[in-house]
Amino acid sequence: MAEAAGVAAEFFASNRARAARAVLDQVVLPGEELLLPEQEDGEGPGGAGERPLRLNAGARSRVRVVCGPGLRRCGDRLLVTKCGRLRHKEPGGGGGGVYWVDSQQKRYVPVKGDHVIGIVTAKSGDIFKVDVGGSEPASLSYLAFEGATKRNRPNVQVGDLIYGQFVVANKDMEPEMVCIDSCGRANGMGVIGQDGLLFKVTLGLIRKLLAPDCEILQEVGKLYPLEIVFGMNGRIWVKAKTIQQTLILANILEACEHMTADQRKQIFSRLAES
């Protein structure tokens, strides 16, 4: 296949690898390549670009850069694989840090350490099969509950909701959940109560709601007293005093997806008045 080199001139100009710093919080598309900060000087506009710098070039500043979801290492650059806004988190020590793409995905892919809400689909011998919305059900041992022993089995029925954490989650293995932390404590995890409402939102909304600087939760908390559980797999369980209040809360949270901060402020102030 002959490659039309000339045609691409304009295109490449607009699509040449950009510096990751320059596109922070901007929309990136799959296929784009990003330069890391220490590469910018070498390969900037007009730069010679003769010195290929490795991610872990020992001689120079040894910075660790972590590729989050939606990014992959491609030679000495970052390749974007998902569409969304590019985010960055500075590490404590300065330099490098974590880069990831914030997308509005619906399908969950298990990640080790994530807290999720699962639905028990089957009991087989010593383990429960739990649907977490991924490509295969997660397994959950009956011993992975606080205070559970071989004699003292937890009371879990098919159809129950489980709030747990992944201890094994990689692409090649069946994911495994537990409902205890490393000290053997429940720490909030376990079977979720029989009342309340479960509903699904996008994974991006969950991340937004759980962000430390997010005002939504505080605002929601001011409306009614409530119990709420967020699963990183896009599931939210909410319970208020009455059915009516639960429904209102669920609808507000769902609606937050496509509202800007100002619009949310208006809604909450309107609700607080009524």
Partner: protein, 235 residues
């Protein structure tokens, strides 16, 4: 097969003096795209090119049947549904072309033992259907957040009896054309991912069509970018 095609093209070139493709009159019809319009699939997109319209839904990475499981990569399936009647050979052939294109850009190795299913529904066919299917599939895959090494787009060119090149032809233009060529191009290097052709053309004409498709792909990718930027404008 390739040899035969080349031969054919050669004969054509010798027997006929070429009239060049005209500059003006080559245009893409109006485009429209809506993402995430279906609630059930993991990603969905409706893509319109003029009066041609295709709806796409994507599931994945989801559970896979044991019989279709591949241990080191995701199983990619494409289902194309015609608007009237049952799917036939034409649909199967298109499904294959689209599947091969998607396979080239989707990073299936990241999700082994899962399935990625693309369901396409023809909503109205007014020419350049395959190109529209490809565009809809790409936007739906992006919406679903399936990891990809690049975006792709489809461009259809038609050559009429006078050798005039038309981009994004309508059904009428396709019917009257001497040759109809559809290309799938990737967004990074704009290399060819897939091509399918019908009719007679010379090798020079093939290159002309390809060059025109590459120019057109620039507009399609710009359209992709703008619509995705709009989509994420509130987050």
């Amino acid at each position: 097969m390739e040899g035969a095609m080349q031969n054919e093209a050669k004969i054509r070139a010798e027997s006929k003096t070429e009239s060049g493709p005209r500059g003006p009159g080559c245009s893409l019809r109006h485009f429209a795209c809506e993402q995430n319009l279906l609630s059930r699939p993991d990603g969905s997109a409706s893509f319109l090119q003029g009066d041609t319209s295709v709806l796409a839904g994507v599931y994945g990475p989801a559970e896979v049947k044991v019989s279709k499981e591949i241990f080191n990569k995701a199983t990619l399936e494409v289902i194309l549904r015609p608007k009237t009647g049952l799917p036939g050979v034409a649909e199967k052939s298109r499904e294959r072309l689209i599947r091969n294109t998607c396979e080239a850009v989707v990073l299936g190795a990241l999700h082994p033992r899962t399935s990625i299913t693309v369901v396409l529904q023809v909503v109205s066919d007014a020419g350049s259907l395959l190109a529209c299917c490809l565009n809809a599939a790409c936007m739906a895959l992006v919406d679903a957040g399936v990891p990809m090494r690049a975006l792709f787009c489809g461009v259809t060119c038609a050559l009429d009896s006078g050798g005039t090149l038309m981009l994004d032809p309508t059904a009428k233009q396709e019917k009257e054309a001497r040759a109809v060529l559809t290309f799938a191009l990737d967004s990074v290097e704009r290399k060819l991912l897939m091509s399918t052709t019908k009719g007679l053309y010379s090798d020079a004409e093939l290159q002309q069509c390809l060059a025109a498709a590459q120019t057109a792909s620039q507009h399609v990718f710009r359209f992709y970018r703008e619509s995705l930027q709009r989509r994420y404008s509130k987050s």
